[in-house]
């Protein structure tokens, strides 16, 4: 991250870390022809998130999206990461998957959300959850141009 210090944090369940490891090991190409590979997209996403840069530019271009029951998605061109915000600027990642797979299997997104809710409950995370659904409720931005 060069000379930038961390501003936000991401936590991961063991299954999410395993998924990250698989992305590193497989080093696959983008399924949609993006210029960054999935692992490069993940690096960019994690770096952007942790150093506090903008993730929601406007209604159209946003790389963080609220879902039902305070389950959020972090997005790259190829990938989706599902989890919740334990507090502002603190994300707990539970699942990751390819966008194409989620689109192809229409029940997956609901399944992922249900599982995030279940795991959050099991980990005692219901007491540590940002329930508001605005991007400003879950993310502050370190660098914002006027």
């Amino acid at each position: 991250m060069g000379d930038e210090l961390p501003y936000r944090s991401i936590h991961g369940t063991p299954s999410f870390l395993e998924w990250l490891r698989l992305r590193l090991e497989s080093d696959e190409r983008s399924t949609i022809g993006a210029d960054l590979t999935p692992s490069e997209q993940l690096h960019s996403l994690l770096e952007t998130f942790i150093v506090g840069r903008e993730l929601a530019f406007n209604r159209q271009f946003h790389f963080v999206r609220p879902g039902e029951r305070a389950v959020w998605e972090l997005k790259t061109a190829d990938l989706r990461v599902f989890g919740w915000f334990a507090q502002k600027d603190c994300f707990v990642a539970v699942f990751g998957d390819f966008k194409d797979r989620i689109v192809d299997y229409s029940g997956l997104i609901g399944g992922y959300r249900d599982e995030v809710v279940r795991i959050r409950r099991e980990l005692g995370g219901e007491a540590f959850c940002v329930w508001e659904t605005g991007v400003d409720d879950v993310l502050s931005v370190r660098y914002r141009r006027s």
């Binding site: 961390p6 991401i10 991961g12 369940t13 692992s39 994690l46 530019f57 334990a86 603190c90």
Partner: protein, 143 residues
């Protein structure tokens, strides 16, 4: 337990640079929209492409060539500044793990969360491992 998300220096450089360029373009688009009546459709028309092309370029779904960047900068009425600089020494005190390995270090430990009283508390997310934590104890553990 720590997890090291290391894609290697070469990929890291590419990912950071391409993302930075894309984010600059997005920021410029947001600024133009805020400053005057300006839509993505107008941007696309100015460049003689379909709006979906602009979408894909700015969403990271399509390649950003140098020509594309120049075209978008022109359409957004922006100057481009580009410079290759020698890499400085990256010692950063408590975060010297970056100097040593220049990686996105993923540490372990507990996240300090603020309880309802406002005083620091710890989450009982005992199975969750930090992907990244800014706490000093995590860095000590990693180091």
């Amino acid at each position: 337990m720590s997890f090291l998300f290391d894609i290697g220096g070469r990929k890291r450089k590419a990912a950071s640079f391409i993302t930075k360029v894309r984010n600059e373009l997005l920021q410029a688009l947001v600024e133009e929209k805020a400053a005057r009546p300006f839509s993505q459709q107008q941007l696309a028309q100015k460049l003689g492409v379909n709006r979906s092309v602009i979408n894909r370029q700015l969403n990271g779904e399509a390649n950003l060539t140098l020509r594309t960047v120049a075209d978008l900068a022109w359409a957004l009425d922006r100057e481009i500044s580009f410079e290759l600089k020698k890499r400085p020494d990256q010692s950063v005190g408590n975060y010297c793990v970056y100097h040593e390995n220049d990686m996105l270090r993923i540490g372990s430990g507990q996240a300090p969360l603020v309880g309802s009283s406002g005083s620091p508390a710890y989450a009982t997310v005992s199975d969750a491992k930090h992907v990244r934590s800014p706490t000093a104890s995590t860095y000590e553990q990693v180091m």
